[in-house]
């Protein structure tokens, strides 16, 4: 990381030119041989740098090899570029700012710039469950899904074997030849198999599992399918007891040349549709598994145009505003009220009150939400049972009360922050302002409205805006308290009465059985546009406020 120093006496040239703003590069530039090697001394700092960059290089080369093996050319190109930049920056005598910026920038590029771009790209695809890979993978999955045991197919005597951690089947086919195969590797003749009593008892390079070992991994064993050949239409070998294998074949038949899949039980022909990423029959029904394709603005038009989705989306959008505004108003209101109340030197024990009042702020937010969730439980919770004497108020399961509940939890969490800020802001308002007001004959309420509030807002308005933006995406409070519930059963997606946009996106992407990444990303982008617009407008407005102060 650190670059070595040349002792000043040893190199007068670098001494005169060295300075924080420009590196002491020689006339040959950073790549000139003299500045590259000649001026380096093998001090401790240089050794540390050599070791660190060496480590990065080793990891990078490993990464290049791994991505080449997986044919991930994009990743490979990025790694090569990153390695070149790292080595050039750290071994050059120039590019001093680069030495400090590169580490952070690498993380920023991968985990922020790239994922934002990836979000944008995914929003225009149908990526999601059933559409998460290529067409070839989809064909294979469809054929596997509809596999059934072939009637009167021969029985294979089967032994479960392992190579390393990988399970495989060693079988003796009806002709008596030993074969071996694994999930990714179709059956092939087993070299060096030891057959005894019609089954394989030993096999070179594999361990044969005994009955107890098979039982220990039975769910893996029973889920395993070994293709009979490279052609997916041939079917596969499976076992239901770990000792006998049967041939399973799909009722679906894939015709690669025509791009169709035919269901042999019904005779329906499904044709590949590249715009939908699915195999579609003439009557419009599509097979459950498809592949990832670019769908343009479909996700956006679905959210805004499809009536069954627009309803829930608009409802969630309005509540998100309600929640964010309500949270800011309530926390600020209570925080300010308490700050004013305790801002009187005659109140004894003010410091004790203050330090206790900010306890909710120090309590981790995710815990607060979970604790309140228990307290608000309808049948057993503390609020109903103890505070309300055995009432049965459905705090978390009634659409309106669930909203009240999340606002209450957020009020509890947020008011100490506003209290701290308002206390600070109140103390910085000069008292002369109030004396002038009194001389002008202002009543207390008028002074609060015309003096305290405007002056307070000058310093707190930016914080209120960032608090709004924060609460607009306050995932923890909503999701951990109510999970967005109670669920709206009439909607086509999993959405509840207290869902805000970000929890709505979470449920679309990770909630139910049908994950829709493309749609989720599209809504993420809409959220971003909304928050960015509001921030831009309100920051401009607050500048007007600042001129006032």
């Amino acid at each position: 990381m650190s670059r070595t120093t040349t002792p000043p006496a040893a190199s007068p040239r670098s001494r005169t030119t060295r300075g924080p703003s420009h590196g002491p590069a020689g006339p040959d530039g950073p790549r000139g041989p003299r500045t590259w090697i000649g001026a380096q001394t093998f001090s401790a700092g240089f050794v540390v740098k050599l070791v660190l960059v060496g480590l990065v290089d080793a990891l990078g080369v490993y990464g290049v090899l791994a991505s080449a093996a997986q044919q991930q050319w994009g990743v490979l190109a990025f790694l090569v570029a990153a390695l070149l930049v790292v080595n050039l920056v750290y071994f050059s005598r120039r590019a001093v700012p680069g030495k400090y910026l590169v580490p952070g920038l690498v993380f920023l590029l991968v985990y922020q710039v790239f994922v934002v771009a990836y979000t944008g790209w995914t929003a225009f695809t149908n990526y999601g469950d059933g559409h998460n890979s290529t067409r070839e993978d989809a064909v294979e999955a469809i054929l596997v899904q509809d596999e059934a045991r072939v009637p009167d197919s021969p029985t294979y005597a089967l032994s479960v074997v392992t190579r390393g951690d990988e399970l495989a089947f060693a079988v003796v086919d009806p002709e008596g030849d030993p074969l071996v195969g694994a999930a990714e590797q179709p059956l092939e003749p087993a070299e060096g198999a030891d057959v005894e009593g019609g089954r394989v008892v030993a096999l070179d390079g594999y361990d044969v599992l005994d009955f107890a070992q098979v039982v220990a991994r039975q769910s893996d064993v029973f889920a395993m399918r070994v293709p009979l050949s490279d052609d997916p239409n041939d079917g596969s070998l499976r076992t239901t007891d770990g000792s006998a294998g049967y041939v399973y074949a799909s009722t679906m038949v894939y015709d690669e040349a025509a791009g169709t899949i035919t269901d042999t039980t019904t005779g329906t022909v499904y044709t590949a549709d590249e715009t939908e990423g699915s195999f579609v029959a003439d009557d419009g029904t599509a097979l459950g598994t498809g592949w990832r394709v670019f769908v343009g603005l479909d996700n956006f038009t679905r959210v805004l145009g499809d009536a069954s989705l627009r309803g829930p989306f608009v409802g969630v959008l309005l509540w998100t505003f309600g929640f964010a505004i309500g949270s800011v108003v309530l926390t600020f209101g209570l925080g300010l009220f308490l700050a004013i109340t305790l801002n009187d030197w005659r109140v004894r024990g003010r410091t004790v009150y203050r330090s206790l009042l900010i306890l909710p702020y120090a309590f981790p937010a995710f815990l607060s939400a979970l604790v309140w969730r228990g307290m608000l439980n309808r049948d057993f919770g503390f609020v109903n049972q103890t505070l309300l004497g055995g009432a049965e108020i459905p705090w978390l399961t009634d659409p309106v009360l669930a909203k009240v509940a999340v606002l209450t939890v957020n009020l509890w969490l947020g008011f100490p922050y506003m209290f701290l800020i308002c206390t600070g802001a109140l103390q910085s308002i000069p008292q002369e302002v109030y004396e002038a007001g009194r001389l002008d004959g202002a009543k207390p309420w008028r002074m609060f409205r015309s003096l305290t509030m405007p002056l307070l807002l000058v310093s707190t308005a930016p914080l209120l805006i960032s608090s709004f933006a924060f609460n607009f995406n306050n995932f923890n409070v909503v999701y951990l308290t109510t999970e967005g519930g109670p669920q709206d059963l009439s909607a086509p997606v999993d959405v509840g009465a207290s869902d805000i946009l970000i929890t709505f996106v979470y449920k679309i992407a990770f909630g139910g059985v049908n994950r829709q990444y493309g749609l989720a990303c599209a809504i993420s982008i809409l959220i971003f546009l909304i928050v960015a617009t509001i921030s831009a407008i309100s920051f401009r407005k607050t500048r007007a406020l600042e001129e006032l102060g």
Binding site: R18, Q112, L342, P444, W445, L480
Partner: protein, 309 residues
Amino acid sequence: MATDQTTAVRGSRGSRTAPDAPRRLSPRRWWREVGWRHVVALVALVFAILPILYIVSSSLNPSGSLTGSNRLFGTVAADNYVDLFTDPVHPYAKWFVNTLVIAGVTAVGTVFLGACAAYAFSRFRFRGRRGGLLSLLLIQMFPQLLAYVAIFLLMVMLRDLFPAIGLGSRLGLILVYLGGALGVNTYLMYGFFNTVPRELDEAATLDGASHAQTFFTIILRLVAPILAVVGLLSFVGTFSDFLIASIVLVDPDKQTLAVGLYQYVSQRFSEYWGVFAAGAVLAAVPVILLFQFLQRYIVSGLTAGSVKG
């Protein structure tokens, strides 16, 4: 609202002119101007503290169920704490260690990367400096929080290429968090770095110190307060993060407290309440301790524009 403002004003004005004024207040006037403030404060205290008392009481209640926990401090025993560390399905101790390690490493990494970038922006003049600062601000407008679907998809891809940093890996999660290390933090630190006089760097350079020596031995010590604020905010933010941790960490042994404790509450809620409460109390301890320890830095950090995460 109206009366409190005037009294507040008079009160603080009085503090300068007549320090022993309260003794002369009649009981009635004392009540009208001071007494009610205690009532308000006490009501607020109950609201602020009751949930905390309740969870501490639940954690000590041996019945362990939600219903049984409604009488505050009815019976006190450590059963739940014992169960917490002996439950094989919910490896609490592992969650705790995971969380401390993940949040700790992330905080140190964030501080280091942010400080390096802030040093570069504050001390060097190079091409693209202004543009760089501006792009950092713009990139930060699209928070990582909104890109979590893409983060998940990226982690799925990394799992195949580099299992050590892919989906399900704690190191991978740390790297995701470090993606947000620049941005807001750099701004916060950049402002602070600018307050350290440049003459110090120049003196060090004249004495033969390299830029690395200047950075590590001089500058970093002088900006320690802002490093503490950024480190604390990062630690607390990571500690509390449920969203990204829940999608990246699948294996129960690798999860964090936020993800693990959520499971106590979401599955078989009411029987596990006592154990959950014990877990919550212990989980709150490190954060509350940090807050106490760094309290004076936090207040200035708060007003610098950060929000609870």
